[in-house]
């Protein structure tokens, strides 16, 4: 389990998170929603061990995250975020391979892991390209592949692992975004716990097992999309008129703004 217990995070005078509790179990997709500045990235960074709670506890498998070594944290979870451009001309293959944890997974598994990750992320045609020459969407896919390689394990070593993603669909067109979310769903089905920050309410409604809605650093709702994503709650949190309908043919929520 990856758990935040009554967590508060403070930066200077500003309280970025206030009394937030959230558990991400292996195999489930938890989507974090909320307007800009609501504390979504702060929440993700607390799970990632970047920020240490000023109150409350952040635990991974029952242990305080900040007590784990940086290497142990890396074996438990991978993070996908927007990355600054690289200075030197690393190829896509070299970037993906950076995710390999050579101290955790036996090296004879590398070829299997690498091939399966490249196939899963459809990056085979990019491998020889220079990372810096890729489009924003392609870069996002490569960084996702790198993270998948980091949490890839042979059957014998499958302890719980988590994948944390900060707005992974920000640069993607509709089709690529859906493909990425479908891949994330496959990871969850394989037992990975997923925490993903999204702006797109429809993607959230479609792929989330549970949604955490944040507003001004506080939890404004936690539960299944149907419970949390109601027109009145969303309208209030986003301070704009939001309609939520149930689409009978697709059998899912559709959010109209």
């Amino acid at each position: 389990m990856c758990v935040l217990e009554h967590v508060a995070v403070r930066a200077g005078d500003k309280e970025l998170l206030h009394d937030v509790s959230l558990t991400v179990a292996p195999g489930e997709i938890v989507v974090v929603l909320g307007p800009n500045g609501a504390g979504k990235s702060t929440l993700l960074k607390t799970f990632a061990g970047d920020l240490i709670p000023t109150r409350g506890r952040a635990l991974i498998m029952g242990e305080d995250i900040s007590r784990l070594s940086i290497a142990a944290q890396a074996a438990h979870r991978a993070v996908v975020q927007q990355s600054p451009p690289m200075v030197f001309d690393f190829t896509v293959a070299e970037v993906i391979q950076m995710g390999w944890l050579e101290d955790v997974v036996p090296s004879e598994c590398f070829e299997d892991a690498y091939q399966s990750v490249v196939a899963e992320t459809d990056t085979g045609s990019l491998l020889d390209r220079v990372f810096n020459t890729l489009s924003g969407g392609e870069r996002q896919r490569v960084l996702y592949a790198c993270a998948l390689l980091q949490i890839w394990r042979p059957r014998a070593l499958r302890q719980p692992r988590w994948l944390l993603l900060d707005e992974p669909t920000a640069n993607l067109d509709v089709r690529c975004a859906l493909e990425l979310m479908a891949s994330i769903r496959r990871q969850a089905a394989a037992g990975i716990g997923i925490l993903v920050v999204l702006h797109d309410l429809n993607l959230a409604a479609r792929f989330a097992d549970r949604v955490m809605l944040l507003n001004l650093g506080r939890s404004a709702g936690l539960g299944a999309p149907r419970q949390v994503m109601t027109a009145s709650v969303l309208s209030e949190v986003y301070q704009t008129e939001v309609r939520v309908d149930h689409h009978p043919e697709l059998d899912r929520l559709v959010v109209l703004t």
Binding site: V87, F88, F90, E94, M98, L101, L143
Partner: protein, 326 residues
């Protein structure tokens, strides 16, 4: 690929040891076809061998440090001389030369006092630079260079003060420091330098994979298991030790740390597992050749080797700036 660099280095070492004001037929004597005169073997063992060995390790130190600093700062223009690390080391060394009578240094530490002072200067500058460069994220190539210019100006002031304070004998030594030369090499000087540079280069080589990961940004490197703070300390202090030892024995030799890593990247790629050892070997080769030029171009006089590397390196630097801006 690394074997090719090693072969080039061995060739350069042999040629450099054989050539000079007094030619020495090393190959044919090794093959038993001729024997060396007493003068030739004395020159070879006491003068020329320590000189090419020091040139090789100092070149390796500058190049591998340049490559590691470029990776650490994520900046293609980082170079020990340009960003002031060599200047800091020179200031430490010059200060030690002028003030050495004032200190009471035990005889056993005396050979190490100059490298230590140079190391302290280099470490101070590198730490200061990293503090500047990491205060508000990655600030781009220009900021680091501007800070480097400022630090170079400050170390120039310090060196100027010591020049003013120095007597005639010290003044000659100081001038030698600012131009760079392997002219006064001996085995006594070579030993501490070989040890310090050997250890710090070995330490830098262990950072290769972590430097690769750092290219994705500090937080991403951390997520993938890199202790960034430890990595910074390792590179800053190993680099400072290598450059400090190099400057202590040979003065400021510019542009090796800039040019060599870029050439090595152009030849075989950017991964640090290849780049760091490749830069060490290739830097050693080019510096041995530059020193060969320094002592053979104007026989019987000798050019400062720093002049030669700068004359080649400065135009390359211009080309690099044009390329980076594109």
């Amino acid at each position: 690929m690394l074997w090719i660099y090693l072969g080039l280095l061995l060739t350069a070492l042999t040629v450099a040891a054989a050539s000079g004001a007094l030619p020495i037929p090393i190959i044919s004597s090794l093959l038993g076809q001729s024997s060396l005169t007493e003068l030739q073997s004395t020159v070879l063992l006491q003068i020329r061998l320590p000189r090419v060995v020091i040139a090789a390790v100092v070149g390796a130190a500058l190049a591998v440090t340049g490559a590691a600093l470029q990776g650490l700062f994520r900046n293609p223009l980082a170079e020990p001389q340009l960003i002031g690390v060599s200047g800091g080391a020179a200031l430490g060394a010059v200060g030690m030369i002028v003030l050495t009578d004032k200190f009471n240094i035990p005889a056993i530490l005396a050979p190490y006092s100059l490298p230590l002072a140079a190391f302290a200067g280099a470490a101070a500058v590198t730490s200061l630079l990293y503090w500047f460069a990491s205060r508000r994220g990655n600030q781009g190539p220009a900021v680091l260079l501007l800070v480097g210019i400022a630090i170079n100006a400050l170390t120039a002031v310090g060196i100027g003060v010591f020049t003013y304070l120095s007597d005639d004998g010290q003044l000659r030594t100081l001038t030698f420091w600012t131009l760079g030369s392997f002219g006064s090499s001996s085995w006594e000087k070579a030993l501490p330098v070989v040890i310090i540079i050997g250890v710090s280069t070995a330490l830098l080589l262990t950072a290769a994979r972590r430097l690769d990961l750092l290219q994705l940004g500090e937080s991403q490197a951390r997520y993938a298991g890199v202790d960034v703070l430890r990595l910074k300390r390792l590179v800053v202090f190993s680099g400072a030790a290598a450059v400090g030892a190099g400057v202590a024995v040979a003065g400021i030799i510019g542009f090796v740390g800039l040019v060599v890593p870029h050439l090595v990247r152009l030849i075989g790629g950017v991964k640090h597992g290849y780049l760091l050892p490749g830069s060490a070997l290739f830097g050693a080769t080019l510096t041995v050749i530059a020193d060969l030029g320094a002592r053979t171009l104007v026989i019987p006089a000798e050019l400062p080797v720093g002049l030669i590397t700068s004359a080649i390196g400065a135009p390359f630097f211009l080309w690099l700036i044009l390329r980076v801006r594109r």
